[in-house]
């Protein structure tokens, strides 16, 4: 990848990011296959950090693999599993290995994952992690000590445009802007009108917003997300569209829907790009981009 994520964001182009979910175990062949498939089709690739509090191969490991293969990684860092010493240490390490993008997350709660008795750390939160990055760029650590060699990162965060009520989320959004965030990747959005209203708010600030697009693979998955994933709302018309697909073609219909949404977001310049999440179906991301005309 010739261009860094920051360069891509600054260029004014419609930025495409996607994400890689590391395996539970040491068999990384499938993850590497996904990286090879996607690294040249997107501007940057996130690697999830024990997504949904499920223990997996680490984000930093996936990011190094992307880097080695010539891609542009975005290191997802949650505050759930590491205290401030460990987070800062990982930032130092990531920088020395050429990783330049960090997505700062508070992290899902421990009880939603597969190690339900673990201690949730949350020594810092996402806003504090953003501040920490900017502090370390200035040459200091959180203990007030000088760093021998500093970091420099393009720092991102997340926002949930469909959250109800939205106001507390917007206050948090502003706090992240204040902390020096450069880009947001949103939770999945499906209602473009509602998202456009959110963007009217977001446009007041000098930050880039990449709309989250999660591939729907069936009407059942859409209903499941509505019931179980906080801040995600799949409208009934999309559920009906998926349910109406001929047998065995729901995935194709889901790819069409995702492609159509991305095309609409780009055509009307609603936001600055998209973050495509194909949870477990990474191999169809190129098809989604093709359906979007990208």
């Amino acid at each position: 990848m010739a261009q860094s994520l920051r360069e891509a964001l600054d260029s004014g182009k419609f930025v495409i990011t996607s994400e890689i979910g590391p395996p539970k175990g040491t068999n990384i062949a499938r993850m590497l296959h996904h990286i090879d498939l996607l690294k040249d089709k997107v501007d940057a690739l996130n690697v999830t950090d024990h997504q949904s509090s499920v223990m997996r191969f680490p984000s930093i490991g996936g990011c190094l693999a992307i880097k080695e293969r010539g891609g542009e990684p975005i290191l997802q860092m949650t505050c759930r599993d590491r205290n401030r010493l460990a987070l800062q240490a990982e930032l130092l390490f990531a920088y020395t290995r050429g990783i330049r993008n960090i997505l700062c997350l508070t992290g899902d709660a421990v009880p939603v994952g597969d190690h339900k008795k673990a201690k949730g750390v949350f020594d810092l939160d996402s806003s504090q992690l953003l501040h920490t990055i900017r502090l370390m760029e200035s040459g200091k650590d959180l203990g007030g000590n000088d760093l021998d060699g500093v970091v420099e990162f393009c720092a991102g965060a997340i926002v949930t445009p469909e959250a109800k009520p939205i106001e507390p989320q917007l206050a948090r959004f502003e706090k992240k802007v204040e902390a020096g965030v450069e880009f947001f990747q949103t939770q999945a959005i499906y209602d473009l009108e509602n998202f456009a209203r959110f963007m009217e708010f977001a446009r007041q600030f000098r930050v880039k917003v990449l709309a989250g697009v999660i591939l729907l693979v069936s009407a059942r998955m859409a209903k499941y997300m509505n019931e179980n994933v906080p801040g995600v709302l799949v409208p009934q018309n999309l559920i009906d569209e998926l349910a109406g697909a001929p047998k065995g073609e729901a995935l194709t219909r889901g790819i069409e829907i995702a492609g159509r949404m991305i095309a609409a977001l780009k055509k009307d310049s609603i936001c600055d790009g998209v973050h495509v999440m194909a949870i477990g179906r990474e191999e169809v991301v190129p098809d989604i981009l093709a359906a979007a005309g990208l």
Binding site: D123, D125, A171
Partner: protein, 216 residues
């Protein structure tokens, strides 16, 4: 403040008591009575179960407040029965267990697990209200503690797991930050939602914690 407890499974208590045949039982007349885990009735119930299991109960008492000096007096009053026992089973919170241990030489076994410091929300409903973090933020969070009322203890606003004002961990539980937002709005103090709180000091009073309020 109430020290909120729950009874340990009887099998776990039995495991601790296996090696002892003569047991003295202590309850507490304050918190453990309110939570129905170590009051007069529960102590009587425990004695019955111990006897049924074949143990000798040398005596029992329910101390008015087992975490203060009354414990010493109660120990003295029951001196003979306590000396006859080879262990003491304490049906109070961990404060009472530790206070008891200060007065006697025999092993002290807790019958309860201490969960949290709470307030009574309604009859029989107890809510954790303070984590004793040593840096109270209630003045800026509309009187709702984000350390205890938010699952993650977040001090800079809600996470993305909140949905319809509820918490991602339990859909029956309110999202603390949604409540804080609503109250701050009513109070005309919404600017506080945007105030950045730096990382907390988790060593305000490093463990082991001890404070002297009377100088020499």
């Amino acid at each position: 403040m109430k020290s909120i407890t729950k009874s340990k499974p009887f099998d776990e208590i039995k495991e601790c008591l296996e090696r002892f045949d003569r047991i003295f039982v202590i309850g507490c007349g304050t918190c453990a009575t309110m939570t129905r885990t170590g009051g007069i009735e529960e102590v009587a119930g425990m004695i019955g179960r111990l006897q049924e299991w074949g143990k000798i109960v040398t005596g029992s008492t329910v101390i008015a407040t087992s975490c203060d000096e009354m414990t010493g007096a109660a120990m003295a009053e029951n001196g003979q029965a306590i000396r006859d026992a080879n262990c003491i089973l304490v049906m109070s919170c961990a404060l009472g267990v530790q206070k008891t241990a200060q007065y006697i030489d025999q092993p002290v076994i807790p019958a309860l697990d201490t969960l949290f410091m709470g307030i009574e929300e309604g009859p029989g409903i107890f809510l954790e209200a303070c984590d004793q973090c040593g840096q109270c933020v209630l003045g800026e969070t509309a009187g709702i503690c984000p350390i205890t009322a938010c699952h993650k203890g977040l001090i800079n606003g809600p996470c993305g797991g909140t949905d319809n004002g509820k918490c991602e961990v339990d859909k029956e539980r309110d999202c603390a930050w949604t409540l804080i937002y609503q109250l701050l709005e009513k109070q005309g103090r919404l600017d506080l939602m945007k105030k950045y709180h730096p990382p907390k000091n988790f060593q305000v009073a490093p463990r082991p914690r001890l404070i002297r309020v009377i100088s020499d």
